[in-house]
Symmetry: C2
């Protein structure tokens, strides 16, 4: 894509009311537009990053048998009354409105009850189970405060998955497969090394749930980490009982700030009992379905990646999520233009995504934008370099520039 054709522009400043580093950088680099506190639009480049993250998640969810679907944002009152969660005293993030005939409707902040209501129509027999479905849904949450940029929005994108199993054993197998799939997701997104499966509070059915917490200064959570044993514990369950069970001394734990990038939850049969979600087992008897719920905040992960890797010059995208692999800088006259045009064509034809800075701007402006936007490889074509038949290649992470021949350049980028 040619930078001259992008409708967005980089900026030296972010909106005055934007306090989160992730949103400041994303707005300045032209990935995100702030609609209001906690509500952001994603530009052409921002949407590419989101789609890259979604595709990694999609592939890993499909690999464990997940079926993608899309539910509705509009929610019926009756769907949520069964479990008591329509009540604003119980769930304080509902956005609600009314149909013309005064019927109350809500906007989905979660889809747990909605998916159960739907699945009750399709899943009747043990032969229909197990089933795992997921979606990438725009969630609405009426947050009191929204100061964390895209890490905690009033409108945000979540991958939410739900599993329906015949018993605890079938449920546990999928639950554990999901832990592994989530670890692969975070590895592929470049945050695996700093992301920990964390013991958190369970529900009526289980002692613990599991969160995926990424070490991040801008995070809103605190976990206690045993690096050696690779065990992490959320503050809320850090007590003597937990420590004894996990065989850990409190003084071995390191307190770190983290952002929750995923969570998984075993409902057992609690929710199916509340909603009367049953199936007929092999003996012809009615049994309650075992349910699980598994979330990854897609927009939040994008924000965490920005927070973690950004430096004083701007964003640093891992290759797997970057909107382009190469930022092609063109410096000079007709020869450099023709040469850069041709290289842009060749790289694009090879399937390498390129942001081509074809603007009539000073080199310093182009270099600064390449860094602000965080594209993994900057390639420079200039009259001076062409005279030596060389190209400059500068990885965003190291900032170390190398002079390469064309063959070496294509080999490195290929």
């Amino acid at each position: 894509m040619r930078i001259s054709q992008l409708f967005t522009k980089t900026s030296k400043t972010a909106p005055a009311d934007e306090v989160a580093k992730n949103a400041q950088l994303l707005i300045r680099a032209g990935y995100v537009y702030k609609v209001m506190a906690g509500v952001y639009a994603y530009t052409t480049l921002g949407l590419r990053v989101l789609e890259n993250i979604k595709q990694v998640v999609r592939e890993e969810m499909n690999a464990i048998g997940g079926q993608e679907l899309i539910m509705s944002s509009l929610q019926k009152k009756s769907t949520w009354e069964e479990t008591g969660r329509w009540d604003d005293e119980v769930v304080d993030v509902w956005f609600k409105s009314k149909l013309k005939d005064e019927t109350e409707v809500g906007f989905g902040w979660s889809h747990e009850e909605a998916i159960i209501e739907m699945m009750k129509q399709y899943l009747k027999s043990y032969k229909d189970l197990p089933i795992n479905v997921y979606q990438f849904q725009t969630k609405m949450r009426n947050e009191l405060r929204a100061k964390s940029g895209i890490m905690r929005g009033r409108e945000f994108i979540m991958k939410d998955m739900y599993s329906c199993s015949i018993d605890a054993k079938q449920h546990d197998a999928f639950y554990n497969a999901t832990i592994e799939a989530y670890n692969r997701v975070y590895d592929r997104l470049g945050i695996g090394d700093d992301t920990y499966v964390t013991f958190a509070s369970g529900g009526a059915f289980t002692q613990f749930s599991h969160e995926f917490q990424t070490i991040c200064e801008a995070g809103e959570d605190v976990i206690y980490l045993h690096r050696e044993k690779n065990i992490a514990i959320n503050e809320e369950v850090l007590n003597d009982k937990t420590l004894t069970e996990l065989g850990i001394n409190r003084d071995e734990l390191e307190k770190v700030k983290t952002a929750e990038v995923g969570n998984i939850f075993n409902f057992g049969t609690q929710k199916s009992e509340e909603t009367k979600f049953t199936f007929t087992n092999a003996e012809g008897k009615e049994q309650f379905v075992h349910l699980g719920s598994y979330g990854i905040g897609i927009t939040r992960v994008m924000g965490v990646i920005v927070e973690k890797f950004a430096d004083e010059r701007g964003i640093v995208w891992p290759e797997s999520v970057a909107p382009a692999k190469v930022y092609l800088v063109r410096i000079g006259g007709d020869a450099a233009i023709a040469h850069a045009d041709e290289l842009y064509g060749e790289l694009t034809a090879k399937g390498i995504e390129v942001l081509y800075d074809d603007r009539d701007e000073r080199p310093g402006t182009k270099f600064a934008d390449a860094e602000l936007m965080g594209i993994p490889y900057r390639v420079t074509v200039s009259d001076r370099l062409l005279a030596d038949e060389k190209y400059e290649l500068t990885p965003r992470v190291t900032g170390d520039t190398k002079l390469l021949t064309r063959a070496e350049l294509l080999d490195t980028l290929g």
Copy 2:
């Protein structure tokens, strides 16, 4: 995909309150789940159809220089007050709610005002224009009645595109390019022959806008068609002045029922004057931006395709939108199973999408489901056919079964 693993099931009946043929069939075939009147979830197969339609639209919008982005559903009151369209007396389909501090917010039923507010931040100079952006957005409209299935939802997916141009000439060039792009879209979706560019009422700036109307008994519109001259006129502008201008006699026109599958609108500078959206021209003077708005109802198009092509046995998808090209029916014992498994693998490896009916059901049930689900080609593998080294191939459109060798089968499907 194996049918045995799909969570959906076909059904002989649709919900009693569902009167629209499109929704009845989509629900029975397992593409769509009804959440409430006018609100539907899309299952794994339904989502595939939606994504296929979106991809066709995406390719054609990209081909005319459109940049994809995604706006927010949540809307600020101030954004819409400038043009008077926050008022429920002016726009009667708003869903509105409130933030915790009592600030009113709306849910996007359109994004015209929102995109202008955003573009004002980026587009300042004639050098920044023209720009065309589009999104696939979930729109919310508080419709009084919702009886047309997915053809008129309270929550639905729309492709909405917006153009910003320096003058009428630049605007017109893009407007006309969009007409051609839309025609290509409808051609590729299989409804091109019955879709007409239709003169409809304009606004303050133009005499006419243009709608894309598809002949469809279930449609809510009526147009007057001059088949010979390929001119269509919406009821609302059918008057002597229009007829004289188009050189048509009233008695040459055929009255037909249609569904609006797209519309395009030239705002001229009306909206930019209301919202003070200006740019600096080459002479350094402020001028108002020329704006256009271009919609395609993605979910509506899906509904129209069902309405138009369905027969008494079920849905008939055009290949371009079908969730799979082949419905593979397996009949018989171990040999047929092994053979069908192997064929499923081979077709899938060739990139041909296959719905594999691997269930232990009677052949009649499988054939009926293949027809209800509307998959373009049914392929049957059975013990009897294997004995003759033959396969049955049955196109959904004709229902004519042919006996083919393996080479002939692969050649036909390839």
